[in-house]
């Protein structure tokens, strides 16, 4: 199973995961983490611990809120050398719902491509298409 970690400022990630559960039901392998009160090193170590040992294949998608923020940096550092883990910024609800919908029917690379597209497609000026 491909897992996902939503790591953000404040409680954004926790709430996104909670709301995704309200829409699609409770989910395994979807977790949230906050950077609150944590140094860069602490966040990196927490992400590493969530990923588990590099030797065990555990494909994952890490979703962060802000490109260039501490969550994004820590996630990239924690994923060094892990080809089965992708970090995507700009997390939104559509990406999480897409992840839960497609993770069992897509391989990792395909899932990542679809999630990037889905996240972008979700931003629409309503009433214009």
């Amino acid at each position: 199973m491909i897992r996902s970690l939503v790591i953000t400022h404040g409680r954004i990630g926790e709430e996104l995961v909670r709301v995704a559960g309200m829409i699609l039901g409770p989910q395994e392998g979807l977790d949230a983490m906050s950077n609150a009160h944590r140094s860069a090193q602490d966040i990196t170590e927490a992400v590493r611990a969530w990923l588990g040992p590099a030797a065990e294949s555990s494909p994952a998608v890490i979703l962060v809120d802000d490109y260039g923020g501490s969550c994004a940096t820590a996630s990239q550092l924690a994923c060094e050398g892990r080809k089965d883990v992708a970090v995507l910024s700009g997390v939104n609800l559509a990406m999480i719902l897409g992840f839960l919908t497609w993770r069992d029917s897509s391989d990792h690379a395909d899932l990542v491509t679809r999630l990037v597209a889905k996240g972008r497609e979700a931003i629409v000026r309503l009433g214009t298409r």
Binding site: S39, A40, Q41, D42, Y67, G68, G69, T73, Q76, L77
Partner: protein, 165 residues
């Protein structure tokens, strides 16, 4: 004075720095002084990629950063200088970096540290380095973001903290 902001922040290059202070100060260069990151190509790439493309970024050892700052004294550049610890900032100033005031922007909790402010946790080593900065004539204030409250840190605050760590 080339240093528009000298900041101690254990998250190093992140949103408060690039978006918060960056938008306010419009630096030409973000200079991160950190021996471990400067010596590691992957970490350097990750941190450098966090900086908006219009701002130059340099990640250097503490010694190399001091030399770069000395060069900048005549270049008219505006530099946002970052270290992850008070000790590294004190070392930069000892090496002659032109820094008159230091912004203590974020030192998060880790084992053995005590709270000075909700965004500043320190141990004895941090306090020694902050004291050294004061002795070197540097003014210290804790402030997370532009427009946030600035908490001056003088001898009295450090003495009070010293009794608690």
């Amino acid at each position: 004075m080339p240093v528009a902001l000298a900041r101690i922040d254990d998250r190093l290059i992140h949103g408060q720095v690039t978006v918060g202070w960056g938008a306010q100060l419009r630096p030409d260069l973000i200079l991160l002084a950190n021996n471990a990151i400067a010596a590691d190509a992957w970490q350097t790439r990750v941190y450098a990629s966090s900086v908006p493309p219009e701002v130059e970024v340099a990640i250097l050892s503490v010694h190399a950063a001091a030399a770069r700052l000395a060069e900048a004294e005549t270049s008219g550049e505006r530099i946002l200088l970052l270290t992850g610890t008070p000790g590294e900032m004190a070392e930069l100033v000892r090496l002659g970096a032109p820094v008159a005031r230091v912004n203590v922007g974020g030192l998060h909790y880790s084992a053995g540290k005590q709270e000075m402010l909700p965004f500043v946790y320190v141990d004895r080593q941090d306090l020694r380095a902050l004291r050294r900065l004061l002795e070197l004539g540097v003014a210290l204030a804790a402030q997370q973001v532009p427009g946030g409250r600035a908490h001056p840190l003088g001898r009295q605050q450090l003495d009070e903290m010293e009794a608690r760590v």
